[in-house]
């Protein structure tokens, strides 16, 4: 065999090992990511149980506590875990001519939770507080003076950061408030 061919075979063998390793990581990581994201596996529970919304109308403030847990049932670290929650408040705006329905963001807090090793579980509380712009609220609006909607974003990377997945839930109703007559 010519030396040039021998050199070629060495490079080719290296490439084959490299490609096979990469493909193995891709397949294992992809499968694990699907397993973690599968709702039936209960690996991601946001919220885990009842969440707490402390609406303090007197002090125009809102506090939120969301317990959650995330289990890494895969084979690689679940890394760069990021959780973000926004709350929008919809109300009749008394500063407009017809008390127009207005939506403002009263809460927008993001937290990073680092990495979770395989077979480990992160149990934590997402907490945050915001303020309510109550001075322009039409208190007699029907059916509710205040309506609250939340948007949630969960993001994490997997398979040595080769995959990044994001799950977003947009504008789901979390409650409403009416002043007593």
């Amino acid at each position: 065999m010519r030396p040039s061919r021998a050199f070629r075979w060495i490079v080719r063998a290296f490439l084959l090992v490299f490609t096979l390793s990469l493909s193995t990581v891709s397949i294992l990581g992809g499968w694990s990511a699907v397993t973690i994201l599968n709702p039936g596996s209960n690996d991601i529970n946001i919220p885990d149980g009842d969440y707490v919304v402390n609406l303090d109308i007197g002090n125009s403030s809102i506090e939120m506590i969301v317990p959650f847990n995330i289990s890494n049932g895969g084979v690689y670290d679940l890394s760069d875990i990021f959780l973000s929650l926004q709350i929008d408040m919809t109300f009749g705006n008394t500063s407009t001519l017809n008390n127009d329905t207005t939506t403002v963001q009263i809460f927008d807090i993001s937290h990073s939770y680092g990495d979770i090793a395989p077979e480990e579980t992160l149990i934590a509380n997402y907490t945050g507080s915001g303020s309510l712009p109550l001075s322009e609220v039409d208190r007699f609006r029907t059916p509710h003076a205040l309506e609250f909607y939340a948007s949630l974003t969960f993001r994490a990377s997997y398979s040595l950061n080769l995959y990044t997945f994001t799950v977003g839930i947009i504008d789901f109703s979390i409650g409403n408030y009416s002043w007593p007559p």
């Binding site: 010519r2 040039s4 061919r5 070629r8 490079v11 080719r12 490439l15 490299f18 490609t19 990469l22 891709s26 990511a33 994201l37 599968n38 709702p39 039936g40 398979s159 950061n161 080769l162 995959y163 990044t164 997945f165 994001t166 799950v167 977003g168 839930i169 947009i170 504008d171 789901f172």
Partner: protein, 170 residues
Amino acid sequence: MGRIGNIIKGIIYMGVYITTTMVIPFLTFTWVRELSILGVDIVLTQHDYENIIFWISAFGLLISATAFFNYSAPKQSIRKGTFALIQILLNCLYIWSYKFSGATEIRFEIVFQIANIGFISINIQNMVMLYMGVYFLTIVLKGYDLFDFVLNRKSIREKRYKTIPGGNDL
């Protein structure tokens, strides 16, 4: 391997490339286009789907065609070296097409009782870039092959057409 053998080898590899670059991605994206998990529909947008399928088909056809010419060419021939290099460059474009067609950041809409309530997005751009790195090394290897086949053309042909004592003239 004779001429017929080379052509059969070319057809077999063309079939392999049609399967891996077109049929499997097509079936995968068609399967994930509309999933239903626990009664909630997870839908790939129509525009994304059409864009991805178009580029996969376009480059898949080119790769499969060059695979035929590559694998049906005689071993260590300049033709084989040239088509192998073209094929690997097309492979690079194929992988790159996953990025610019939007397949590296697939966004599924979550639809519950007609209303859109959110999304799931999967970003595999880092993985595609890593595969591009592997392909770059393969391009170097194929370029080296072509250079080697041209430089050593005489000895390769002598070896291929060597005379056998007592053999018959064709």
